[in-house]
Amino acid sequence: MSIQTNVQTSATPLGRDELAALVARDIAPGSFVNLGIGQPTLVSNYLSEEQNITLHTENGMLGMGPEAHGDEIDGDLINAGKIPVTELPGASYFHHADSFAIMRGGHLDICVLGAFQVSATGDLANWHTGAPDAIPAVGGAMDLATGAKDVFVMMTLLTRDGASKLVEQCSYPLTGVGCVTRVYTDKAVFLTGPDGVSVRETFGCTLEELQALVPVPLKAVAAVGV
């Protein structure tokens, strides 16, 4: 994967599938990866066999295969979203404490999550709207946010109302502090960290146009390599 100075790599914003394909391409060969529920699950459609990626599901499995259909469906073999899945050769099963030890212990290379908001320093809000009458439900979100070596977020950059989900400080309740390393959106890929937010590439907009949408200072990624 080459990291380049800010480049508009697409003339139009990316669709969900294009974004999923981009995330898939950015995952290093041989990685162990957890794909969160929802949009991140799409990434699995774009992983190539040559990449040799091993998928983890927090309900106790490494080597998860694609969604099960028809006769493949087995009630004892589901993913974290409770969808029937399949088992790839070389898989393994373990109990819940061992499964979350894999996450908390920092053994996963990448976790891909959806988000309501991401802050300039990588805080993540993706579990709770904070509405007073909402019934809270967290599942494995906080564990996923805390554990992986890299936490990638996939989301649209803007809410339906046009507000940026990349924010100075999250207004929704936090899932994790300073945990997000990269944010994939329809309009740009952002790198987040203690030094602020860099833009790796934009889709259908210039860096200046992007900055007008986002309330945090953006800078272009410095060129790395050739």
Binding site: M61, H95, H96, A137, M142, P173, T175
Partner: protein, 219 residues
């Protein structure tokens, strides 16, 4: 002491009002439905239930909640599209909820079985689920003080038991079974098959019989 019991009704007959009951399963996988139904029939009430969820649809744990038998839920994900019985009770203020991140739930259950009095975990630090909890900077990460979850009874589902009470599970239905079996004073396992001693390879036993008290075969 290990007992092989003929019916799920007898298996749960000694569960007392006010007990803390762990129930295995994640989604439907590994849910001991027959034992939960028997617990409902037993009339036991004022229960604290530990499960990943808070019941779905009109079956199992959801019915226990609907019937007002559950005083408190300890779980990670109560809100689902079909968790209407929990939702109703919760909004009416008729059920208490302790919401725990799933990995902390698993580790707290594991700690109970392993005799660990408390531990520090990075999960949840800086979030509303850690509010009021002791924190400490360890290994360069802020971590939260968490305590074990013990139970009076665990209801779990396994694939096979041998006559020593050793258990093996099937695929992702393993989930909370092994750690709940260790965390409860009395563990009741429903299994699909009971095999003779020696039929399970000692290398492949997942839950040693020391953790199992009652076994009932469910067809």
């Amino acid at each position: 002491m290990l007992n092989f019991i003929d019916t799920v009704g007898e298996a749960v007959a000694d569960i007392k009002d006010g007990s803390t009951v762990m129930i295995g399963g994640f989604g439907n996988a590994g849910q001991p439905f027959e034992l939960i139904d028997a617990l409902l029939d037993s009339g036991a009430t004022d229960l604290t239930v530990v499960n990943n969820n808070a019941g779905q649809g009109d079956q199992g744990l959801a019915l226990l909640i609907k019937e007002g038998r559950v005083r408190k839920m300890i779980c990670s994900f109560p809100r689902q599209s079909d968790s209407w019985h929990f939702d109703t009770k919760f909004k009416a203020g008729e059920i208490e909820l302790e919401l725990v991140p799933q990995g902390n739930l698993a580790e707290r259950i594991r700690a109970a079985g392993a005799g660990i009095g408390a531990f520090f975990t990075p999960t949840g630090y800086g979030t509303m689920l850690a509010e009021g909890k002791e924190t400490r900077l360890l290994d360069g990460k802020w971590q939260v003080f968490e305590t074990p979850i013990h139970a009076d009874v665990a209801l779990i589902k396994a694939l096979k038991a041998d006559r020593k009470g050793n258990l093996v599970y099937r695929k992702t239905a393993r989930n909370f079974g092994p750690i709940m079996a260790a965390a409860a004073k009395h563990t009741i396992a429903q299994v699909s098959e009971i095999v003779p001693i020696g039929a399970l390879d000692p290398e492949n036993v997942v839950t040693p019989g020391i953790y199992v008290n009652s076994i009932v075969k469910v067809a």
